[in-house]
Symmetry: C2
Subunit: 159 residues, 2 copies
Amino acid sequence: MKIKKKEVEQRMKYFETVCHDKGIKLTHQRMEIFREIAQTEDHPDADRVFQRVRGRIPTVSLDTVYRTLWLLKDLGLVVTLSSSRERTRFDANLQTHHHFVCEQCGFTRDFFSDDLDTIRLPDSVGSLGEIKATHVEVRGICRKCAENRKHIGPNALYP
Amino acid sequence: MKIKKKEVEQRMKYFETVCHDKGIKLTHQRMEIFREIAQTEDHPDADRVFQRVRGRIPTVSLDTVYRTLWLLKDLGLVVTLSSSRERTRFDANLQTHHHFVCEQCGFTRDFFSDDLDTIRLPDSVGSLGEIKATHVEVRGICRKCAENRKHIGPNALYP
DNA sequence: TTTAATGCAAAAGATTTGCAACATG
DNA sequence: CATGTTGCAAATCTTTTGCATTAAA
Protein backbone atom coordinates (compact mmCIF):
# COMPACT_ATOMS: atom_id res chain seq x y z
CA MET A 1 0.00 0.00 0.00
CA LYS A 2 1.26 3.43 -0.94
CA ILE A 3 1.60 6.40 1.39
CA LYS A 4 0.04 9.64 0.15
CA LYS A 5 2.36 11.75 -1.96
CA LYS A 6 2.02 14.71 0.36
CA GLU A 7 2.99 12.69 3.39
CA VAL A 8 5.99 11.28 1.56
CA GLU A 9 7.10 14.78 0.67
CA GLN A 10 6.86 15.79 4.31
CA ARG A 11 8.92 12.83 5.39
CA MET A 12 11.55 13.60 2.79
CA LYS A 13 11.70 17.23 3.92
CA TYR A 14 12.18 16.16 7.51
CA PHE A 15 14.84 13.67 6.49
CA GLU A 16 16.72 16.40 4.64
CA THR A 17 16.48 18.74 7.59
CA VAL A 18 17.80 16.18 10.04
CA CYS A 19 20.69 15.24 7.77
CA HIS A 20 21.57 18.85 7.23
CA ASP A 21 21.43 19.65 10.94
CA LYS A 22 23.67 16.74 11.81
CA GLY A 23 26.12 17.35 8.99
CA ILE A 24 25.21 14.12 7.22
CA LYS A 25 25.71 14.33 3.49
CA LEU A 26 22.62 14.08 1.34
CA THR A 27 23.62 11.57 -1.27
CA HIS A 28 21.50 10.30 -4.11
CA GLN A 29 21.60 6.80 -2.56
CA ARG A 30 20.48 7.94 0.87
CA MET A 31 17.61 9.90 -0.54
CA GLU A 32 16.31 7.00 -2.59
CA ILE A 33 16.75 4.51 0.23
CA PHE A 34 14.85 6.70 2.63
CA ARG A 35 12.19 7.46 0.04
CA GLU A 36 11.67 3.76 -0.46
CA ILE A 37 10.77 3.26 3.18
CA ALA A 38 8.88 6.51 3.41
CA GLN A 39 6.58 5.77 0.52
CA THR A 40 5.37 2.31 1.43
CA GLU A 41 3.43 0.87 4.27
CA ASP A 42 4.79 -2.63 3.92
CA HIS A 43 7.90 -2.39 6.08
CA PRO A 44 10.51 -3.80 3.74
CA ASP A 45 13.67 -5.54 4.92
CA ALA A 46 17.13 -4.57 3.69
CA ASP A 47 17.11 -6.81 0.68
CA ARG A 48 13.71 -5.66 -0.48
CA VAL A 49 14.79 -2.03 -0.19
CA PHE A 50 17.88 -2.93 -2.21
CA GLN A 51 15.84 -4.56 -4.98
CA ARG A 52 13.54 -1.59 -5.27
CA VAL A 53 16.17 1.11 -5.11
CA ARG A 54 18.15 -0.76 -7.73
CA GLY A 55 15.33 -0.05 -10.13
CA ARG A 56 16.21 3.61 -9.89
CA ILE A 57 19.95 3.48 -9.14
CA PRO A 58 21.22 0.38 -10.90
CA THR A 59 24.70 0.63 -9.38
CA VAL A 60 23.60 0.88 -5.76
CA SER A 61 25.10 -1.81 -3.55
CA LEU A 62 23.56 -3.87 -0.81
CA ASP A 63 26.09 -2.80 1.77
CA THR A 64 25.20 0.82 1.20
CA VAL A 65 21.60 -0.09 1.84
CA TYR A 66 22.53 -1.75 5.13
CA ARG A 67 24.73 1.15 6.21
CA THR A 68 22.05 3.65 5.34
CA LEU A 69 19.29 1.75 7.06
CA TRP A 70 21.16 1.62 10.37
CA LEU A 71 22.12 5.25 9.96
CA LEU A 72 18.49 6.19 9.49
CA LYS A 73 17.67 4.25 12.59
CA ASP A 74 20.39 5.98 14.60
CA LEU A 75 19.06 9.31 13.39
CA GLY A 76 15.58 8.34 14.55
CA LEU A 77 14.18 8.65 11.04
CA VAL A 78 12.96 5.08 10.85
CA VAL A 79 12.06 2.47 13.41
CA THR A 80 12.50 -1.26 13.20
CA LEU A 81 9.88 -3.88 13.67
CA SER A 82 10.81 -6.65 16.09
CA SER A 83 13.11 -4.74 18.39
CA SER A 84 16.60 -4.99 17.04
CA ARG A 85 19.30 -6.83 15.16
CA GLU A 86 18.36 -9.94 17.11
CA ARG A 87 18.17 -13.60 16.28
CA THR A 88 14.94 -15.46 16.88
CA ARG A 89 14.42 -16.16 20.58
CA PHE A 90 12.42 -18.97 22.10
CA ASP A 91 10.06 -19.11 25.03
CA ALA A 92 8.45 -22.14 26.68
CA ASN A 93 5.87 -20.10 28.53
CA LEU A 94 2.61 -20.86 26.77
CA GLN A 95 0.36 -18.69 28.93
CA THR A 96 -0.66 -15.37 27.44
CA HIS A 97 1.98 -12.88 28.46
CA HIS A 98 3.82 -9.79 27.35
CA HIS A 99 7.41 -8.63 27.10
CA PHE A 100 9.66 -5.90 28.26
CA VAL A 101 12.74 -5.70 25.99
CA CYS A 102 15.81 -3.57 26.60
CA GLU A 103 16.72 -1.73 23.40
CA GLN A 104 20.33 -1.65 24.44
CA CYS A 105 21.25 -5.14 25.55
CA GLY A 106 18.28 -7.27 24.57
CA PHE A 107 17.38 -8.18 28.15
CA THR A 108 13.85 -9.53 28.01
CA ARG A 109 11.43 -10.27 30.78
CA ASP A 110 7.87 -11.55 30.74
CA PHE A 111 5.07 -9.75 32.46
CA PHE A 112 1.43 -10.58 32.95
CA SER A 113 -1.70 -8.48 32.92
CA ASP A 114 -5.31 -9.51 32.69
CA ASP A 115 -6.14 -6.04 31.42
CA LEU A 116 -3.76 -6.38 28.51
CA ASP A 117 -4.90 -9.91 27.75
CA THR A 118 -8.38 -8.63 27.14
CA ILE A 119 -7.67 -5.41 25.24
CA ARG A 120 -10.16 -4.70 22.54
CA LEU A 121 -8.71 -4.15 19.09
CA PRO A 122 -10.17 -1.74 16.55
CA ASP A 123 -12.55 -3.43 14.13
CA SER A 124 -10.24 -2.60 11.25
CA VAL A 125 -7.77 -5.18 12.51
CA GLY A 126 -10.23 -8.01 12.16
CA SER A 127 -10.62 -7.19 8.50
CA LEU A 128 -6.92 -7.76 7.87
CA GLY A 129 -7.17 -11.42 8.75
CA GLU A 130 -7.89 -13.98 11.39
CA ILE A 131 -6.44 -12.95 14.74
CA LYS A 132 -4.48 -15.64 16.55
CA ALA A 133 -2.76 -13.76 19.36
CA THR A 134 -2.19 -10.28 20.64
CA HIS A 135 0.75 -9.28 22.64
CA VAL A 136 2.30 -6.17 23.94
CA GLU A 137 5.94 -5.35 23.55
CA VAL A 138 7.35 -2.69 25.80
CA ARG A 139 10.68 -1.31 24.69
CA GLY A 140 12.92 0.55 27.05
CA ILE A 141 16.26 0.64 28.79
CA CYS A 142 16.77 -1.90 31.53
CA ARG A 143 18.12 -0.92 34.93
CA LYS A 144 21.55 -2.32 34.33
CA CYS A 145 22.00 -0.39 31.09
CA ALA A 146 20.61 2.77 32.66
CA GLU A 147 23.11 2.34 35.48
CA ASN A 148 26.00 1.96 33.06
CA ARG A 149 24.99 5.03 31.15
CA LYS A 150 25.00 7.08 34.30
CA HIS A 151 28.58 6.11 35.01
CA ILE A 152 29.78 6.86 31.55
CA GLY A 153 27.78 9.99 31.02
CA PRO A 154 24.79 10.88 28.91
CA ASN A 155 26.67 11.24 25.64
CA ALA A 156 28.20 7.80 25.52
CA LEU A 157 26.96 5.99 22.45
CA TYR A 158 27.80 2.47 23.51
CA PRO A 159 28.36 1.94 27.21
CA MET B 1 16.05 -15.90 36.16
CA LYS B 2 15.16 -19.50 36.87
CA ILE B 3 11.75 -21.07 36.57
CA LYS B 4 10.55 -23.05 39.60
CA LYS B 5 11.60 -26.68 39.57
CA LYS B 6 8.04 -27.87 39.82
CA GLU B 7 6.96 -25.82 36.82
CA VAL B 8 9.91 -27.13 34.80
CA GLU B 9 8.93 -30.69 35.66
CA GLN B 10 5.41 -30.02 34.47
CA ARG B 11 6.66 -28.58 31.23
CA MET B 12 8.92 -31.56 30.68
CA LYS B 13 6.05 -33.95 31.36
CA TYR B 14 3.87 -32.15 28.84
CA PHE B 15 6.69 -32.17 26.30
CA GLU B 16 7.09 -35.91 26.73
CA THR B 17 3.37 -36.49 26.38
CA VAL B 18 3.12 -34.45 23.20
CA CYS B 19 6.12 -36.20 21.65
CA HIS B 20 4.75 -39.58 22.56
CA ASP B 21 1.31 -38.79 21.17
CA LYS B 22 2.72 -37.54 17.91
CA GLY B 23 5.19 -40.38 17.54
CA ILE B 24 8.20 -38.07 17.90
CA LYS B 25 11.19 -39.82 19.38
CA LEU B 26 12.32 -38.69 22.79
CA THR B 27 16.03 -38.31 22.33
CA HIS B 28 18.53 -37.17 24.91
CA GLN B 29 19.27 -34.09 22.80
CA ARG B 30 15.64 -33.07 22.42
CA MET B 31 15.02 -33.40 26.12
CA GLU B 32 17.98 -31.25 27.06
CA ILE B 33 17.21 -28.64 24.42
CA PHE B 34 13.64 -28.35 25.57
CA ARG B 35 14.69 -28.34 29.22
CA GLU B 36 17.02 -25.45 28.50
CA ILE B 37 14.18 -23.28 27.27
CA ALA B 38 11.75 -24.56 29.86
CA GLN B 39 13.94 -23.72 32.81
CA THR B 40 14.85 -20.13 32.05
CA GLU B 41 12.92 -16.95 31.66
CA ASP B 42 15.47 -15.23 29.48
CA HIS B 43 14.33 -16.42 26.06
CA PRO B 44 17.58 -17.66 24.59
CA ASP B 45 18.34 -17.74 20.89
CA ALA B 46 19.57 -20.87 19.07
CA ASP B 47 23.21 -20.26 19.71
CA ARG B 48 22.73 -19.61 23.40
CA VAL B 49 20.74 -22.81 23.75
CA PHE B 50 23.54 -24.61 21.94
CA GLN B 51 26.21 -23.24 24.28
CA ARG B 52 24.27 -24.23 27.34
CA VAL B 53 23.24 -27.69 26.19
CA ARG B 54 26.81 -28.35 25.17
CA GLY B 55 27.73 -28.14 28.83
CA ARG B 56 25.70 -31.27 29.37
CA ILE B 57 26.00 -33.02 26.00
CA PRO B 58 29.41 -32.06 24.66
CA THR B 59 28.84 -33.68 21.27
CA VAL B 60 25.54 -31.97 20.50
CA SER B 61 25.61 -30.04 17.25
CA LEU B 62 24.23 -26.65 16.40
CA ASP B 63 22.15 -27.97 13.53
CA THR B 64 20.37 -30.35 15.87
CA VAL B 65 19.57 -27.40 18.08
CA TYR B 66 18.07 -25.54 15.14
CA ARG B 67 16.10 -28.54 13.96
CA THR B 68 14.80 -29.19 17.43
CA LEU B 69 13.85 -25.59 18.08
CA TRP B 70 11.71 -25.39 14.97
CA LEU B 71 10.23 -28.78 15.73
CA LEU B 72 9.26 -27.59 19.20
CA LYS B 73 7.67 -24.59 17.62
CA ASP B 74 5.72 -26.69 15.13
CA LEU B 75 4.54 -28.84 18.01
CA GLY B 76 3.35 -25.76 19.85
CA LEU B 77 5.68 -26.44 22.77
CA VAL B 78 7.52 -23.16 22.50
CA VAL B 79 6.72 -19.80 20.98
CA THR B 80 9.07 -17.33 19.35
CA LEU B 81 9.54 -13.73 20.25
CA SER B 82 9.37 -11.31 17.33
CA SER B 83 7.04 -13.16 15.02
CA SER B 84 9.04 -15.41 12.80
CA ARG B 85 12.17 -16.29 10.90
CA GLU B 86 12.22 -12.76 9.56
CA ARG B 87 14.91 -10.25 8.84
CA THR B 88 14.76 -6.82 10.39
CA ARG B 89 12.12 -4.66 8.75
CA PHE B 90 12.04 -0.89 8.60
CA ASP B 91 9.26 1.61 9.02
CA ALA B 92 9.30 5.36 8.42
CA ASN B 93 6.07 5.95 10.30
CA LEU B 94 7.12 7.69 13.49
CA GLN B 95 3.65 8.11 14.97
CA THR B 96 2.66 5.66 17.67
CA HIS B 97 1.09 2.72 15.95
CA HIS B 98 0.64 -1.02 16.14
CA HIS B 99 1.05 -3.96 13.81
CA PHE B 100 -0.85 -6.87 12.42
CA VAL B 101 1.55 -9.54 11.18
CA CYS B 102 0.62 -12.64 9.20
CA GLU B 103 2.34 -15.66 10.70
CA GLN B 104 2.33 -17.37 7.35
CA CYS B 105 3.63 -14.87 4.83
CA GLY B 106 4.88 -11.97 6.92
CA PHE B 107 2.35 -9.52 5.54
CA THR B 108 2.38 -6.57 7.93
CA ARG B 109 0.02 -3.66 8.23
CA ASP B 110 -0.09 -0.72 10.63
CA PHE B 111 -3.12 0.11 12.64
CA PHE B 112 -3.90 2.95 14.99
CA SER B 113 -5.82 3.13 18.21
CA ASP B 114 -5.93 5.84 20.82
CA ASP B 115 -7.09 3.25 23.34
CA LEU B 116 -4.03 1.12 22.79
CA ASP B 117 -1.70 4.11 22.81
CA THR B 118 -2.78 4.90 26.32
CA ILE B 119 -2.94 1.43 27.86
CA ARG B 120 -1.79 1.33 31.41
CA LEU B 121 0.98 -1.13 32.16
CA PRO B 122 1.29 -3.01 35.44
CA ASP B 123 3.60 -1.27 37.90
CA SER B 124 5.95 -4.22 37.80
CA VAL B 125 7.00 -3.24 34.29
CA GLY B 126 8.27 0.13 35.39
CA SER B 127 10.61 -1.57 37.82
CA LEU B 128 12.33 -3.45 34.98
CA GLY B 129 13.62 -0.27 33.43
CA GLU B 130 12.78 2.99 31.77
CA ILE B 131 9.90 2.60 29.35
CA LYS B 132 10.42 4.17 25.93
CA ALA B 133 7.56 2.80 23.88
CA THR B 134 4.75 0.33 24.03
CA HIS B 135 3.31 -1.36 21.09
CA VAL B 136 0.92 -4.08 20.31
CA GLU B 137 1.65 -6.88 17.91
CA VAL B 138 -1.27 -8.84 16.61
CA ARG B 139 -0.38 -12.14 15.00
CA GLY B 140 -2.74 -13.93 12.72
CA ILE B 141 -3.39 -15.24 9.26
CA CYS B 142 -3.99 -12.65 6.58
CA ARG B 143 -6.91 -12.91 4.20
CA LYS B 144 -4.83 -13.98 1.27
CA CYS B 145 -3.23 -16.86 3.19
CA ALA B 146 -6.59 -17.88 4.65
CA GLU B 147 -7.96 -17.94 1.10
CA ASN B 148 -5.13 -20.14 -0.13
CA ARG B 149 -5.59 -22.56 2.73
CA LYS B 150 -9.23 -22.96 1.85
CA HIS B 151 -8.39 -23.98 -1.69
CA ILE B 152 -5.81 -26.48 -0.65
CA GLY B 153 -7.72 -27.89 2.25
CA PRO B 154 -7.32 -27.75 5.98
CA ASN B 155 -4.52 -30.29 6.21
CA ALA B 156 -2.06 -28.62 3.92
CA LEU B 157 1.05 -27.78 5.88
CA TYR B 158 2.51 -25.23 3.52
CA PRO B 159 0.11 -23.80 0.99
C1' DT C 1 14.48 -54.39 13.41
C1' DT C 2 12.76 -50.40 11.42
C1' DT C 3 12.66 -45.76 11.00
C1' DA C 4 13.68 -41.43 12.54
C1' DA C 5 17.29 -38.47 14.47
C1' DT C 6 22.05 -37.06 14.94
C1' DG C 7 26.63 -35.18 13.71
C1' DC C 8 29.53 -33.82 10.33
C1' DA C 9 30.94 -31.16 6.66
C1' DA C 10 29.68 -28.31 3.28
C1' DA C 11 26.35 -25.08 1.23
C1' DA C 12 23.50 -21.26 1.33
C1' DG C 13 22.07 -16.81 3.18
C1' DA C 14 22.56 -12.58 5.52
C1' DT C 15 25.31 -8.89 7.17
C1' DT C 16 29.65 -6.45 7.87
C1' DT C 17 34.29 -4.56 6.78
C1' DG C 18 38.67 -2.71 4.52
C1' DC C 19 39.96 0.05 1.07
C1' DA C 20 40.55 2.69 -3.25
C1' DA C 21 37.67 5.65 -6.13
C1' DC C 22 34.26 9.22 -6.01
C1' DA C 23 30.80 12.83 -4.84
C1' DT C 24 29.05 16.23 -1.66
C1' DG C 25 29.22 20.42 0.87
C1' DC D 1 39.34 20.85 -1.88
C1' DA D 2 38.63 18.02 2.19
C1' DT D 3 36.13 14.63 4.07
C1' DG D 4 32.57 11.51 4.23
C1' DT D 5 30.40 8.08 1.34
C1' DT D 6 30.19 4.55 -2.10
C1' DG D 7 30.98 0.08 -4.53
C1' DC D 8 33.54 -3.82 -4.73
C1' DA D 9 35.32 -7.95 -3.05
C1' DA D 10 36.20 -10.57 0.61
C1' DA D 11 35.31 -11.80 5.35
C1' DT D 12 32.16 -13.07 8.92
C1' DC D 13 28.21 -14.85 10.96
C1' DT D 14 23.91 -17.39 10.96
C1' DT D 15 21.06 -20.95 9.40
C1' DT D 16 20.09 -24.94 6.45
C1' DT D 17 20.95 -29.36 3.90
C1' DG D 18 22.69 -34.05 2.24
C1' DC D 19 24.23 -38.10 3.81
C1' DA D 20 26.33 -41.90 6.39
C1' DT D 21 26.02 -43.41 11.16
C1' DT D 22 23.56 -44.11 15.37
C1' DA D 23 19.82 -44.70 18.60
C1' DA D 24 14.86 -44.86 19.94
C1' DA D 25 10.72 -47.54 19.94
